[in-house]
Amino acid sequence: MSLPHPDDLQETWAFIEPSLYKILGTDDDSDGVTPDEYMSSYTAVYNYCVSRSKGGSTYRSSTNSILLIGSEIYARLKNFLTNYVLQLTKRPDETFLQFYVRRWRRYTIGAGYLNNVFDYMNRYWVSKERSDGRRDIYDVNTLALLTWRENMFDINCNILVAEILEQIRLHRLKQQNSPALLTHSIKSFVMLGIDIQDLKKPNLGIYIDKFEKQYLINTIEFYNTESNEYLKTHNLIDYMKRAEHRIADETSFATNFLDERSRRPLLETVCKSLIENHAPVMYEEFERLLQQDQFSDINRMYLLMQKVQSSLDPLARKFEGYIKSEGLMKIDNMDINDDNKGDRPVRKAPPKVLATDQQKKLYIKTLIAVYTKFVSIVEKAFNNDLLFVKALDNACRGFINKNSVASPPGYKGTSKTPEYLAKYTDLLMRKNARENDVSSDMSEDDVMTIFKFITDKDAFESHYRKLLAKRLIYGTSMSVDTEESIISRLQKENSVQYTSKMTKMFQDMKASTDLQAAFAQYVENKPNKKEILDDFNVYVLAETMWPFSAFKHEFSLPKELMPTYDALESLYNEKHTGRQLKWIWNLCRGEIKANISKPGKPPFILTMTLFQMAIILRFNEQDTYTFAELVDILKLPEEYVSGNLAPLIKYKLLNQSPPDAAKIGETSTKFTVVKEYRSKRMRVNFASNIKIEQKQELEETTKEIEQGREMFLQACIVRIMKARKQLKHVLLVNEVIQQSHTRFKAQVSDIKKAIENLIEREYLRRVDSDTYEYVA
């Protein structure tokens, strides 16, 4: 086979055309190109381009630039390709898609070879033309693809897409289909996306416009129909399982068949259709699943909904609402009569005040139980998703602070939860008698759990400090280490400021121990040493830190205690001149050894309040006193005398005449000491449960909290205004709320009152009706 004349286009083209045809594939693909044909085609093209470029007219006189040969043969090639593609025909026994893929695969392989045949032209003429700015000239491979696009793809796009989508439908229905058809046909959309400005830039325009859009619409329709149909005949749990599988199917389909970019829109579409569209049904079912503790199904629901972030929020809100109502219900149904768990009718409303320690404990335990239950659900079913952690926190804050016990209908004060929690902590921290060990199932962690949710942190501090103070001065605390551990946890959870008073209380206790040692030594050298109590504990407490105030009424200390009293006063004044000791008589307690046992038995040890001691000591002198006489001796207000007498009578140390309990405080009522005291125990405590004290304490604490808040708000406003000079009302109010939220939830009305108070005291003035100014 002889090569054509290099300078003859006609001859050269005639020489190579049959080979080109074979390279691209003849109709039945029977006649492939031979290596010889391939090589000589390459040579012929090479010769043509080279010889003509050399042959005389390499230089153009006018432009003085190299003339490269190619345009004529390029034009012929382009024409050839167009005709080639147009003559391709579908066989009667194949679908269009089969035909398209069959030819496309062959054509693209051929185009690669064709590109090599025209390698020389590509390298010189084409790149020269493109670098000169010609955007309608392409390398041969691209020219082949563009020709395909124009003459095959564009014309048949609709049927092509329709047949692809049908294949996908079959694939989804798991019916027979040919994955290869999908792979190649979908890939052709990507390959045909040629950017004629920049051939190297990947361009998915065609893929997206012609295929993906339609595909996604098709997907929505498919899954909308399928999921609706499925739900008609199956329950939600089955549906969720199916949705899981569907999403997995589609994910793997995307990986295997689609361009990477489609993965996200596809999954979004599928999830929207399978999850978001059916979210209302799932929300409905959610509550039932919670009621039945179906955690794995809830987790399944969560994992599904997590795929559509916007559908998760309502689920979290539902969860929050469920916890809250469960919490409220548990409290409403709290069985406070824990002694008989019979089949009594369920109590509708619990009593407004929890009276016993057991009830208060039960209340806190109930709160903790609800919290603990849902913490574990958040972990097991929601993988500790922050959204659900937050929902749990919100719900707990809701039902813990406000419920039928903390704020019974008609009750307007601050929540009672802080008070009960403080009591709970007290039970935990107190030394307990063995047989009544209530604290065995209580823990510091419980306290901290509920503390975290309490809005009125200041109220807890007040109640807690009050009980702590008692534990400290009565020595009823189980261990100092535990006390300190709780305080450091409270401090960590809130602030140093929050626990500063409690910390100072411990310092006072320490200083008091030192004082007691100093006192013991001081007494050694006193001439009247024998008259001074040798087992005497005194605590000197900084007035502002401790929740006690000096005893406001007159009281005549029994003469037996005067030497001790005088010695302490003089020692203290020696040590600290200028300080004033105020006595809190109502908190003083002591033990009295009473020789009123049966003959031959050891004496009783009676624990009494100082007031009771003052009463009982006088019975050393005579056996009977009238109420009026006792009041005269003690110099106390009558209700203190009667209040302290009551336990002495109740536990039969004194006999009252007339015995009518209501007559205890009448002037002429007589009290006579028993000759022989009867009790199984050698130690008897008369000091607890003095009614008058308890009532007063609660009132004081409430008042203290209110005053504390008032002070806090005023200080807070002054601090803010000092820094800002001028501030709008709303901004000031917001800032105050912001700054007080770790202590309590400030009410706008209270903030307004504090502002008015400061205006009156000329710390602030109004600049206009809506703006305040700090008055320096």
């Binding site: 009302h729 709303v730 706008v748 009305s749 307004k752 008015e756 109004r766 009706s769 809506d770 305040y772």
Partner: protein, 219 residues
């Protein structure tokens, strides 16, 4: 009402009552001297009553407050020489008829000139304040609200009902001043629907609105 605070104010006088000859209009000085109290050198309650009578002003009329405001009266029924003479001189009122005309004109305009009414109103608080007090009794306040504001703001009637029946506590200056703005702002809101108790209104006004709504007074 002028007899309520008999000679209870011992503030230093701003002028020296014995030297008259400091360029002040003699006619006005003569009028002042006619009413002044010989021992204090100021016009006191008795002189004021006479002065009002000669001007033809009823002490129970807002005009008497306009007069006190105009002359910068330090407290109820008291006028000091310098502000008396200087003010009338500046206003070019040198005899009783021109003084009467001035005060009556101003008083007649009170109802239409709200900024002026507000000034007289805010002045009144200090004017009726008892010595060494920061608040005005509810009773006194109610009397002056009716005297000064009733006609302009009919809501004052309900307000004083609230003060008398429910509030019954002394009134601060802030509450006094803010009341005027409240009456003005909510003049056209008969049911107080737009009232926001979180806004900067003093709590006495919050209480009023709550009381009025609870007792269905806003029809």
């Amino acid at each position: 009402f002028l007899s309520k605070h008999p000679d209870s104010h011992n503030r230093p006088t701003s002028g020296n009552a014995t030297t008259m000859d400091n360029g002040q209009d003699q006619k006005i000085v003569n009028i002042f001297n006619k009413y002044k109290d010989q021992s204090s050198g100021k016009i006191e309650i008795e002189g004021t009553i006479q002065y009002l009578q000669d001007l033809g002003i009823d002490p129970e009329d807002p005009a008497s407050l306009v007069l006190s405001y105009t002359l910068g009266s330090p407290s109820t029924g008291v006028f000091e020489r310098d502000s008396f003479v200087d003010t009338w001189e500046a206003l070019d009122c040198t005899d009783l008829p021109s003084m009467t005309t001035f005060i009556k004109t101003k008083t007649a305009n009170l109802h239409t000139n709200l900024p002026y009414l507000r000034k007289v109103y805010e002045f009144t608080f200090g004017y009726i304040l008892e010595p060494h007090q920061k608040k005005v009794s509810a009773e006194d306040a109610a009397m002056y609200w009716q005297l000064l504001l009733q006609e302009v703001f009919p809501r004052v009637e309900l307000w004083t009902e609230f003060i008398n029946d429910d509030w019954q506590k002394p009134i601060t200056r802030d509450a006094w001043n803010m009341l005027f703005l409240f009456l003005q702002d909510f003049e056209k809101d008969p049911k107080l629907e737009n009232y926001d108790d979180a806004a900067s209104w003093p709590s006495i006004i919050d209480s009023f609105v709550e009381w009025a709504k609870e007792n269905e007074k806003l029809e």
